[in-house]
């Protein structure tokens, strides 16, 4: 429609460029840009994130410094820092601990419990949420029971879990499972309830049957919420695991932390806490990474 105009436009503009002489702003320079130029450009493009990283490092260092000062001078101001271990003491116990196979065993066992409990929760919770979201009868049957059990904190299940399961290990995994199960189920259900009905109709008009609609529309449409559920579930899984280990464990990083208190090994308390923090952070980073892999259409935002 507008092609004649376009042609005329190029004809008009060609001589104009020629008149401008051999120097043209559009032509790229013959030599590739020097390393310095590239580095400068990279810096300009990434200035914001570099800034965030720099400030992040400074703030962590400041935290360590405040901790150091509070403990070296044994400050007592409402809160008592008299017995709190200093960062240096924690560092000393850390270097000792990483050569101690028992400490590593604590960590490995906690990770294994999380892996089993959380995976079971995901394997049961996600499909159950999808089915409940799709079939009204399943929702009507299961939802009331889930709603009654959901508000019970996983820690409150400890005595019941000990009665239910023959070994301590199984009951701890069960508690971890319970902790992550409900956030995963509820978020999957929520995702299913938000699926745009127009997309379902579009799929039907293109010849999709029930099974294909489930696989090609309902499931991918719910994925963002499923991953929200997995992230929240992972957080609650750690909370439940540590509580269960402190109460009934013989191994695990929660047990290690509690034992350190009983044995007056104060630096180990902080070491256990930091280990829990790092492990929790690591597992949520893993889930976020998996989410980005599974949902490439969202990572471009």
């Amino acid at each position: 429609m507008s092609s004649p105009a376009l042609v005329r436009h190029t004809e008009d503009s060609m001589p104009a460029i020629a008149d401008a002489g051999p120097v043209s702003a559009v032509t790229p320079p013959a030599t590739p840009p020097s390393f310095g130029t590239l580095a400068l450009r990279w810096y300009r493009l990434n200035r914001e994130s570099l800034r965030a990283i720099a400030i992040g490092i400074i703030s962590l260092l400041a935290f360590l410094l405040v901790w150091h000062l509070l403990t070296t001078y044994r400050v007592v101001f409402f809160v008592r820092f008299t017995n709190v271990p200093s960062p240096l003491a924690v560092h000393a116990s850390f270097t000792k601990a990483i050569h101690d196979p028992k400490f590593l065993l604590h960590i490995v066992l906690s990770c294994r419990r999380i892996l089993i409990g959380f995976s079971l929760a995901a394997i049961v919770g996600v499909p159950l949420g999808l089915i409940m979201g799709r079939f009204k009868l399943m929702h009507e049957i299961i939802f009331p029971v889930a709603e009654v059990l959901r508000p019970i904190p996983a820690i409150a299940w400890v005595p019941m879990a000990i009665m239910l399961w023959p070994t301590n290990e199984q009951s701890i995994v069960f508690i971890t499972f319970l902790g992550s199960f409900f956030p995963i189920l509820v978020n999957t259900l929520h995702g299913m309830s938000l699926v745009d009905p127009v997309l379902v109709r579009a799929a039907q008009c293109l010849g999709a049957r029930e099974r294909s609609i489930f696989r090609e529309v309902y499931f991918p449409a719910s994925l963002p919420h499923i991953f929200t559920g997995l992230t929240v579930g992972m957080g609650v899984a750690w909370v439940s695991l540590i509580a269960a280990e402190m109460i009934s464990g013989q191994y695990g990083i929660g047990y290690f932390t509690w034992e350190a208190y009983s044995l007056v090994q104060y630096p180990d308390i902080a070491l256990g806490m930091i280990a829990i923090g790092v492990l929790g952070l690591g597992s949520s980073v893993l889930i976020r990474g998996a989410g980005r892999l599974v949902m490439p259409w969202r990572s471009t935002r």
Partner: protein, 290 residues
């Protein structure tokens, strides 16, 4: 390509003695009553009417999403019982699958039919080329403009070689310039494919510019108020919209719709009421008077 370029026009839509009502607490509500429409094979027919008149309801019944309360909907003599790939649909909200790339969206219908991957990739590329979207095949819909999204929507609906194409205010969310270009792209595709089109819009110019015939619906409960043939020659150019012939058709349709729109607003505005808009304020501003 033979699948998407049928030689014979096909897709004879017939809607007979159609009515549709739904239940509410006050009893059944009539959305559409006593409606007959038809679209001949290869014909381009539009439905216009005031908002809420049931034109989308009618279209959804032809698509198979809604069951008529009375009457029957057939395509090529076969009764419509539910949605199928024989009746392609384009929605106002684009409704592309956000988790699929442009090409995967276009491939969807072919995949549902069980076409092998390499074959459907080739078909999708060809179709995207026709719509000028080849360069965007790997993009996710979110990155596209509204006009591009709707082009993908149209191409996706056409990919399976449907007998009829149903469009529910497809350009309603686009800006005026994009809309004009999209109308031309749609005309072009329709002329190549020779399939029947049923097009729902509230834009009178759009309906006249695109259609062979226009049905005008009454206010709720909707029924057909008038059927207007559009004798403008094809191919149609944008400049035709200024022709006296076009303007005469436009004037006729405008007055039909206006009558129904006023009715649809529950009589709260009649021509007497509209006169109030031009009351002389004798130099005072509106704020002073109030």
């Amino acid at each position: 390509m033979s699948e998407i370029l049928p030689s014979e026009p096909k897709g004879h839509i017939e809607v007979k003695n159609f009515s549709l009502s739904y239940d509410s607490i006050e009893g059944p509500v009539q959305a559409v009553t006593d409606t007959q429409i038809h679209v001949k094979p290869g014909e381009f027919v539009s439905i216009v009417g005031p908002s809420g008149c049931g034109k989308s309801t009618l279209l959804n019944a032809v698509a198979g999403f809604l069951k008529p309360t009375t009457g029957i909907v057939t395509v090529d003599g076969e009764r419509v019982n539910g949605p199928s790939a024989e009746r392609g649909m384009v929605f106002q909200q684009y409704s592309l699958f956000p988790w699929k790339t442009v090409r995967e969206n276009v491939e969807f219908g072919l995949k549902m039919r069980g076409m092998p991957r390499s074959q459907r990739e080739r078909a999708a590329r060809t179709l995207l080329g026709l719509a000028g979207l080849e360069a965007f095949e790997k993009h996710y819909p979110e990155k596209l403009s509204g006009g591009m999204k709707q082009r993908v929507g149209i191409v996706r609906a056409l990919a399976t070689g449907p007998k009829v194409l149903l469009l529910d205010e497809p350009f309603g969310a686009l800006d005026a310039q994009t809309r004009v270009i999209m109308q031309q792209i749609l005309t072009n595709m329709w002329q190549r494919l020779k399939i029947s089109v049923l097009f729902v819009t509230h834009d009178i110019d759009e309906a006249i510019f695109l259609s062979d015939r226009v049905y005008c619906m009454t206010a709720r409960p909707g029924s057909i108020k008038a059927e207007i043939p559009i004798p403008l020659e094809r191919p149609r150019q944008q400049s035709m919209m200024m022709s006296s012939e076009f303007l005469a058709l436009r004037r006729g349709l405008m007055s039909l719709i206006r009558e129904e729109s006023l009715k649809a607003m529950g009589g709260e505005i009649n021509d007497m009421g509209m006169q109030g808009l031009s009351i002389e304020l004798h130099g005072h501003s509106l704020a002073d008077v109030i």
